[in-house]
Amino acid sequence: MIANIISKSASSSGVAPNMSDYAQTYAGFSWETAAQSLMGLPDGRGINIAHEAVDRHAQGPRAQQLALRWLGRTGVTRDFSYRDLAEQTSRFANVLAGLGVQPGERVFVLAGRIPELYIAVLGALKQRCVVSPLFSAFGPEPIYTRLTLGGGSVLVTTASLYQKKIADLRARLPQLRHVLLVYGDADPVDIADTLDLAALMREASTTFVIGPTAADDPALLHFTSGTTGKPKGAVHVHGAVVAHDATGKLALDFHADDVFWCTADPGWVTGTSYGIISPLTNGVSSIVDEGDFDADRWYRILAEQKVSVWYTAPTAVRMMMKGGTELVHQHDFPRLRFIASVGEPLNPQAVCWGLDAFGLPIHDNWWQTETGGIMLANYVAMDIKPGSMGKPLPGIEAAIVKRCGEDAVEIITAPDVEGELALKRGWPSMFRGYLNEDERYRKCFAGEWYLSGDLAKCDADGYYWFIGRADDVIKSSGHLIGPFEVESALMEHPAVAEAGVIGKPDPVQLETVKAFVALKSGYVPSEVLRRELLGFARKRLGAAIAPKEIDFIENLPKTRSGKIMRRLLKARELGLPEGDTSTLESGA
């Protein structure tokens, strides 16, 4: 039996919430006031994310406090105080400066969750470079596409990832001037056209003065996927830190003595905004786990590290649910007081599973790469309606709208009516562009409203409920995957004439990537060929993007103008009505 509402009292966690009355805080909130929690660069030189996250704490009473605790895959632990982090990030900023890397240049990072990644991101922000984190499970093609679109001039990665995924691409990446390699425990070897990061760091100074940084200066570049065309690089600015900071206080209820664990990888926006920036600006201690998902390991980390606030993802929650509560109950979590989840809607059963497993409900929230920070949330002191993504953050005006014509929307005020989720523009972490794609950026807005592309409804109490995507983009394990990128990779195989890719509903991943492939004449469907195509796609795209399933199909359904009707493929896959097929090419 799933409760319709989980009632909260303001003091249920034993810690006074930062926001005890949602309606009151929402009514009285202003971004100007929120910005006062931050310091700004000395002498009015502007605002820089790394200064707010690291340097100002290193110069104050938090200098010796634990900023990051890294848990290595094999049991090694490394601690960084705010002062340590300030010194290391300054070294990295000096390394960049020493190589002649200028503010505004794009620095890409591609690594698992290792300390050097966190140091490189923050250090590059100090040098006012634009940081673009790549997911280490990407295959060579997604990496090449993003490095090229982003015009990356510096790449920080590990020696093993470089040799596996980059070395063969290098000749096609002329703009990439510097590759800085992390060797970890291995001895550095001579790899052509690369530099040993550790050696450069040893020589670099631990002091660095951050140059003038305007709130509108670009800081981060996060790639996300659209239905058609190449990935889009969403640009975020240094001023976004006001939202990173405030949303940490309001949606995650950060308190000074919290131990926080964000399980997201910094290759995705959650792992940057909340895995790096927000906990640091709030001065809390963050846990970084290098290991992959493993329920038993995770429960041990929660218990042993005395995690108090935990931010995770629905896919992980559902994988833990599969194992039941027996394993969870072998551990105690006396400090754990708040659990949140993001990436895709959390089903009511998962929200309530938190109560059975940890004695705490799981708080779903909603945001996107483009929004830069949490926009809708369930809060520590607000009743939860399981299955709902909660209410807009203070400072965020949300609405359900219907598009009417090119540049106009109609706001749907009646409750429980489905429409597109829209946000009134102007919050600090709103993306400021898609890199070199002004037209695509412009199309995201209608007047004052940012149109999210997500369908939702709002009930009479103001709670928002996710319905689905308005387009063909696939939501899998909390990440957006563009069908076009997958189709393009499959089409490179000599046997493939056409490919159509959909998100197939899945109880664990929300959607899994499924491909339908039409073969060229002379090729016959077989299990051997199916496996070959699967392996082919995985080698190019990596496990995070590649299809999990491939079916052969004689002809893909297409419009008369030749566009693949993915909607129809999906309806057929699910045995649903095919809807409007008036544009369908005959015979498909």
């Binding site: 295959g139 390991r297 896919t315 994988m319 394993l327 991943q509 995985r538």
Partner: protein, 87 residues
């Protein structure tokens, strides 16, 4: 219940891996290094790998034992032991 020797268990592991990640070349896997450091599989793939082993071998693999499947050698040892215990 069928009985399996180590060699057969190895083949069953490679077959399960091959269905999920056909690009993996069994000969290149270092048996004592974590599988996930050597091959590109995500958590969802790993879960499906375990489900396949469960289906083929007919044994339950509880979550707390997943750590035993980290390397090829430890997986062979664990699965051989579990299969024998269920005889």
């Amino acid at each position: 219940m069928t009985s399996y020797n180590r060699e057969q268990i190895r083949d069953i592991i490679f077959d399960a891996l091959g269905a999920i990640a056909p690009e993996v070349e069994p000969a290149l896997i270092a048996p004592d290094r974590p599988l996930r450091e050597q091959i590109d599989i995500d958590s969802f793939d790993f879960l499906n790998f375990i489900i396949r082993l469960h289906e083929t071998l007919g044994i339950d693999i509880p979550e707390k034992d997943y750590a035993e499947l980290l390397t090829l050698n430890s997986a062979v040892e664990y699965l051989t032991r579990r299969c024998a215990a269920q005889q």
